[in-house]
């Protein structure tokens, strides 16, 4: 039986279109988990994360250079082919060198009718968020709050509505509930025997990026009750998984790991974990509260200033976050699947690897992904050998 969550994995476009048909609502697509989709939710819009597919490129090869991220290329190709035509808006954040340029390419390759007045687009379709590289510091929050106010204004102009503080606060409450529920799920994954597979946990998180959050919360509450009561165990060597862009293509890796005798119990992937690690703290200015939360979403691209020598552990830095994600999960090995050309993750990897080995005394496997199912299948041998090596 296909669950409500699985529906989004199998055919997300159909599921979203079904929602749109039923509610006559608007849908905005967005790249990256730092995008404050809570603002879109407050506007009554369904925010959906843009993902790729295994389809061969049909439209973008003449525009995107090779030796670039295939995941982002795939997203753009789907857009250019009209697969994402149900989107009423697209939000592009400055969260990596290629994604930032989707603002240009989405405009160029996914043409929409534009109406302008004195050079200003009356109904913006592609909306850019200049997400700062630094996420802490005296004026970062001020800057980013203004940036999000600007973003909100563009959404309001595009939808011809006003997004009130009350609506924002209501939306914040729904999202905070979601984060809380997801954290409960993560607690369940600490259990041994394990009541839920990595794949199932991923599906739940993935679906939350494609469906209305309040609906997801309702379904998640029921699922959590059911999972908490499970007696059957989910076997497999407990593993930590990290890497880029774990959408439904890369998520095949969860299954391969399972087939090789492993089980993912914790992860740092661009679809999950970082997104719900903190709450949106209520503030008299809800946009500022959302900005603060969005800055706290852990992203490999973000950086911090270190005034004294850098060997000290800065509270925001990536190693601290990684350590928090692994602790308590009784993990026996870590697998990094870093997509080709995902430079931020590639550069931080040796540092994280050394720290994981030192802190947890577990081996780390590093594989380079190319966003194809064939590529993932080729990893099977290494994953099997890794699990065998640990003692599976």
């Amino acid at each position: 039986m296909t669950t409500e969550f699985e529906k989004y994995v199998t055919d997300r476009h159909a599921a979203v279109k079904e929602w749109k048909e039923k509610t006559q609502g608007k849908v905005f697509g967005y790249f990256c988990c730092v995008v404050p989709d809570v603002i879109l939710f407050a506007a009554g819009v369904l925010p959906v994360r843009i993902y790729g597919s295994t389809d061969k490129f049909q439209k973008v090869d003449g525009h995107l250079v090779p030796y670039g991220c295939r995941y982002v290329g795939s997203c753009l190709d789907l857009g250019a082919r009209g697969v994402y035509d149900y989107l009423d808006g697209v939000v592009v954040p400055n969260t990596c060198d290629l994604i930032a340029r989707m603002e240009y390419w989405w405009r160029e390759l996914v043409p929409r009718e534009k109406s302008t007045l004195a050079g200003m687009e009356l109904c913006p379709y592609v909306v850019y968020i200049n997400y700062p590289m630094k996420t802490t510091g005296p004026k970062v929050l001020d800057f980013y709050t203004r940036e999000l106010q600007y973003f909100k204004q563009q959404v309001e102009r595009g939808l011809r509505i006003e997004i009130t503080d009350e609506q924002l606060n209501q939306a914040i409450a729904v999202y905070n509930e979601h984060f809380d529920l997801m954290n409960q799920l993560e607690e369940l994954r600490k259990r041994d025997p394990l009541p839920i597979s990595g794949k199932e946990a991923w599906e739940i998180e993935y679906a939350s990026t494609l469906m209305p959050m309040d609906k997801h919360n309702e379904l998640l509450k029921k699922r959590l009750n059911e999972v908490a009561k499970r007696n059957n165990t989910t076997p497999g060597m407990r593993l930590y998984l990290a890497g880029s862009a774990f959408d439904q293509v890369n998520a095949r890796l969860y299954e391969i790991i399972e087939e090789c005798g492993g089980q993912v119990v914790a992860e740092d992937i661009s679809c999950a974990s970082s997104y719900f690690e903190s709450n949106i703290e209520l503030d008299s200015d809800p946009v500022r509260a959302i900005a603060k939360y969005s800055l706290a979403v852990d992203c490999p691209r973000s950086t911090e200033t270190c005034l004294v020598g850098c060997s000290h552990i800065h509270p925001q830095n990536r190693w601290q976050k990684t350590k928090q994600r692994i602790e308590g999960y009784r993990v026996r090995g870590a697998i990094y699947q870093i997509m080709n050309y995902c430079e931020c993750r590639a550069i931080e990897y040796p540092h994280l690897r050394d720290n994981i080995q030192r802190e947890f005394n577990i081996p780390v496997l590093h594989m380079e992904g190319d966003y194809t199912l064939e590529g993932l299948e080729q990893m099977r041998g290494s994953i099997e050998a890794f699990i065998e090596m640990i003692g599976g």
């Binding site: 081996p363 380079e368 590529g375 080729q378 041998g381 290494s382 099997e384 050998a385 065998e388 090596m389």
Partner: protein
């Protein structure tokens, strides 16, 4: 207790039959070329002293057009016939290699990493680093003092630096794979060939041919490229003596010499490096029986 290990590779199927750590027989079948030979009576001491290595008890040409499933059955039947054993005499069979999942009669499968490491450690108890340059991939394993694998790395997806790379280049130069190493050793200098991309390398080789460069110097360049990529894996894993060279490509004398030069020391090589994986699989079968893990 008699066990068997079967290594289903891209180009050949190797089988070793083992009795209480004495190799009873080993067989290598080539899927396409069909050349087969067997080995008998190998003991660890004999293997570590190349001059006292195995002697061939039979050579056979076996042509198989089918893949691992049929080929592995055929290879097993042949080796049973060689040894006079029957299938029921084999207590446990472990399959390894890229086609291991096609061996329906194996009780267990094990990856090449563990199998080659186990086989190399049996033959050379001082082994701490194992480099397996196979047809389809290259891998380096780091062992502890008990022969357990501590860490491993594999080549990235590209064929550059693998046995397949050598074969493509050998075909371009119209020499057989067996001749590559010897010819390269006669080169007075090296014509550099890209080690990073097979397509790049092919165009460079063609360019060298058109410029009238000798086969020897071009082959020396090709071998240098493969050695470089393999050496990079060794460096990633951290070189610790003794280093064992495993896999069919280890028979390439030119490649061995290039790697020894880069590593700054001798590389140990089994007399028949091709069977190391199958040997390791047979040993793992024994280990499982002894430990009661099936």
């Amino acid at each position: 207790m008699i066990t068997a290990g079967i290594d289903v590779g891209t180009q050949s199927i190797k089988v070793v039959v083992l009795s209480n750590s004495q190799i009873l027989a080993a067989r290598t079948d080539h899927n396409c070329s069909g050349r087969a030979f067997g080995l008998e009576g190998l003991s660890p001491k004999a293997c570590s002293a190349p001059s006292n290595s195995s002697h061939i008890i039979a050579t056979k040409t076996l042509v198989t057009e089918e893949g691992g499933a049929v080929g592995s059955k055929t290879a097993m039947e042949q080796i049973l016939a060689d040894t006079g054993l029957s299938r029921s005499d084999l207590t446990y069979i472990v399959a390894t290699g890229v086609g291991r999942s096609t061996v329906s009669f194996a009780q267990k499968t094990r990856t090449e990493q563990l199998s080659h490491a186990r086989g190399a450690f049996y033959l050379f108890p001082t082994a701490r680093t194992v480099l397996d340059i196979g047809a389809e991939g290259t891998r380096a394993m780091k062992l502890d003092e008990k022969g357990g694998v501590k860490n491993f790395v594999c080549n990235s997806k590209c064929a550059a630096g693998t046995g397949a790379f050598l074969e493509i280049m050998a075909n371009l130069l119209q020499v057989s794979l067996d001749e590559v190493g010897e010819l390269a050793c006669h080169a007075q200098h090296i014509e550099r060939v890209s080690s990073y991309c097979t397509v790049f390398a092919e165009s460079e080789v063609i360019s060298h041919i058109h410029k009238g460069k000798s086969k020897e110097t071009i082959l020396a360049g090709i071998i240098e490229a493969v050695a470089e990529r393999s050496f990079e894996l060794l460096q990633k894993i951290g070189i610790e003596q003794d280093i064992i060279l495993s896999g069919g490509t280890a028979k390439n004398i030119g490649l061995r010499k290039a790697l020894e030069r880069m590593a700054g020391g001798q590389l140990l090589c089994p007399p028949d490096p091709q069977i190391t994986g199958a040997l390791g699989a047979a040993l793992i079968a024994q280990d499982n029986l002894i430990s009661g893990r099936r």
